[in-house]
Amino acid sequence: MIPELGHLALIIALGLALALSVIPMWGSYKNHFQAMALAPSLAIGLFVFVAISFGCLAHAFLNDDFSVSLVATHSNSMLPSAFKFAAVWGNHEGSLLLWVLILSIWTAAVAVFSTPLPLPVLARVLAVMGFVAVGFLLFSLLTSNPFARLLPSTPSDGSDLNPLLQDIGLVIHPPILYMGYVGFSVAFAFAIAALLGGRLDASWARWSRPWTNTAWAFLSLGIMLGSWWAYYELGWGGWWFWDPVENASFMPWLAGTALVHSLAVTEKRGLVKSWTVLLAIFAFSLSLLGTFLVRSGVLTSVHAFAADPTRGVFILVFLACVIGGSLTLYALRAPAVSSRINFSWLSRDCLLLLNNVFFLTATLTVLFGTLFPLLMDALGQGKYSVGPPYFNAVFVPLMAVLVPFMGIGPNARWKQDSVSRWQRELLVPALVALLLGAVLPWFHAGEFNPWVALAVVLASWLALAMLRDLLSKLRHASGVGAGLRRLSPSYYGMQLAHLGFAVAIMGVVLATQYSVELDLKMSPGESHEIAPYRFRFDSLEQVRGANYVADEARFTVTRGGALVATMAAQKRRYLASGQVMTEAAIDAGVFRDLFIAMGDPIGDQAWAIRLQVKPFLRWIWAGAIAMALGGFLTLADRRYRRARSAATLTLPGANASGAI
């Protein structure tokens, strides 16, 4: 009964989404007040019914209703409750419903928080989001109904959730990631509404900035969680694989990063409006493309959902409608004549646009690498795969060249600046960074590693340049406290995000360069040293979990005789599905991670064991978290609240804080 209720709620939600995409849009052209005013209520109604539908599916999972096909194939009565709930989105149909739920959350949030927007704008924004919702609801109902029943032959128990997914990572990773992915639909909707209304101005950029920043922050966090999950759950110690599914989430992030910066230029200086609109369309298009790549089976990936060409056709058609439609609209409506170029090469405006060039190039090269196998296949050239070396070879130099400019950016003035001023401000940070790069690697490892040196130079340059900027902001304040208080949250957000980037650079390079990885045959009683740590294989035990049995290898790790950690790696066999899974033992630390994983048994009591020491690994994720927090922090900015309370006034963008 309850699954049918969920199905019905989904159908009602489709009706509401249809109404939302048509009525307010019509009203905005006819200047029909009631029709436009209907938009927020329809948006909230859409959210309520999708939420009911989602709740019904969750109910079926939590109560082991195996008559529902999805539950029978992706859950099991022995599964812990939290994983039963997460199992809702551990499959194609359910995760699609989660997609729609999150889209409806964003839509409702726009409806609630953007009431002071001019009504025609709000009506159009919500209508565009309604249209996207129609597409995905149709997709769900027509090709991937999550409520399909297995009647009359209801199985007595489910075939279990893939053990890889039975993890806290699955509980939080997809919702956060989708918040980011889908969040770009708001920026997209604002862009389309602006094109439709023909009013592309600074106020448009100001309205969509907080939304874009939020989505970007969620996406950063989501990608970070995905990387962390891959590291301990299926990575054998790897944390990024350039897998098509990872790329599918990374490309919108890259484009979104460009968008966040381009919006700053548009809001502050009223420049490059059509470019910013195009980026907004681009970022969301990449989200949709990611959905297509993950769910259509055109690319091979360990993460991809089961391939189904019908679904692929549906998303492709929808993709063509949304992206093709919006790009056509863009071609017809975007202001063709660019605003008169009235900024100098040496200005913050220009540096921000340089950011766009870098991030867009990075996006396109990742896109190219991801689609290259498909392209060669389509040309009949055979089955290629593009590995991590390609992506590293392309991506790393791009980022390395980007960072020097990143340090200048926040210090630069809008419109016009000079090299001599930059020299005055930044020469000291630059020299200190070079010095640190030359000294720190010796200090840490006793040898000179050029890659590490480069990373230290870049990261410390970035951090010092940010500090320099903070200091010069405080220069004219009466006191440090007063000066700090005067700076806006969006300035702090920017600082934090850029510092996060510096931390992530350190993490990525040092973890890659200093990692030691050994695959060994070990028996209980043996030990092995990865300086300065000594790994001792103490014993092999049989243990039993809620829904699995496992061989457990217990280790003690010592350093110079002192105990560092006791660790237990497992090789699990899940009872319901019979699947075997490696559960690595990880001892996390600020400066190093210790990692032990069991391979296969080799002979009597001996196992293939992987030992790893990964210095600075956590810095990668700490950096990503700082970036995300920076993104969230900008939301607290008074500018946006003021914009809310007086949105119809077009305030000049000038802001004493100088934040971007």
Partner: protein, 145 residues
């Protein structure tokens, strides 16, 4: 030169330079970092290059997995039912690796026709065959008829 003209020229030059750099990076990145897929039949027929990274996919032949007693060396046969190629891998096999299941291995073919694998990917599911394996099987079907 007129300042606007000059600025435009600089923009064009910048775009030109930057895109050259990007294309150069891509071309460099692609060189030697992509590998072509070969089914065992093609390898036995001598179509696959020696000493270059390639990928091979098929089914792990039942009973062919030989583990070394004192190291992590594993040897196994991969078949597409038309031909069989032996692969050697030193390291930890993925959890889903099993006899009679689909597998994709990446590595280099040596003079003896043995694939020295550097990576083994497996996915284990009755209904699943790695798409490349399925395609390889279908290709040899097309060649036969």
């Amino acid at each position: 030169m007129h300042p606007v003209r000059k600025q435009r020229l600089l923009v064009v030059l910048f775009i030109l330079g930057f895109s050259t750099l990007a294309v150069g990076l891509v071309a460099y990145g692609l060189r030697g970092n992509i590998n072509l897929f070969f089914p065992p039949a093609d390898i036995v027929a001598g179509k696959a290059p020696l000493g270059q990274p390639i990928r091979m996919g098929g089914m792990v032949v039942e009973g062919s997995v030989i583990r070394s007693e004192d190291s992590l060396r594993v040897q196994f046969d991969v078949t597409d039912y038309a031909a069989t190629v032996t692969a050697v891998y030193v390291g930890i096999l993925p959890d889903l690796f099993a006899e009679g299941q689909g597998v994709v291995t990446a590595g280099v073919l040596d003079g003896q026709g043995v694939l020295q694998a550097s990576e083994v990917l497996a996915k284990h599911d009755e209904n699943y065959m790695p798409p490349e394996v399925a395609e390889a099987l279908q290709k040899s079907a097309g060649a036969g008829s």
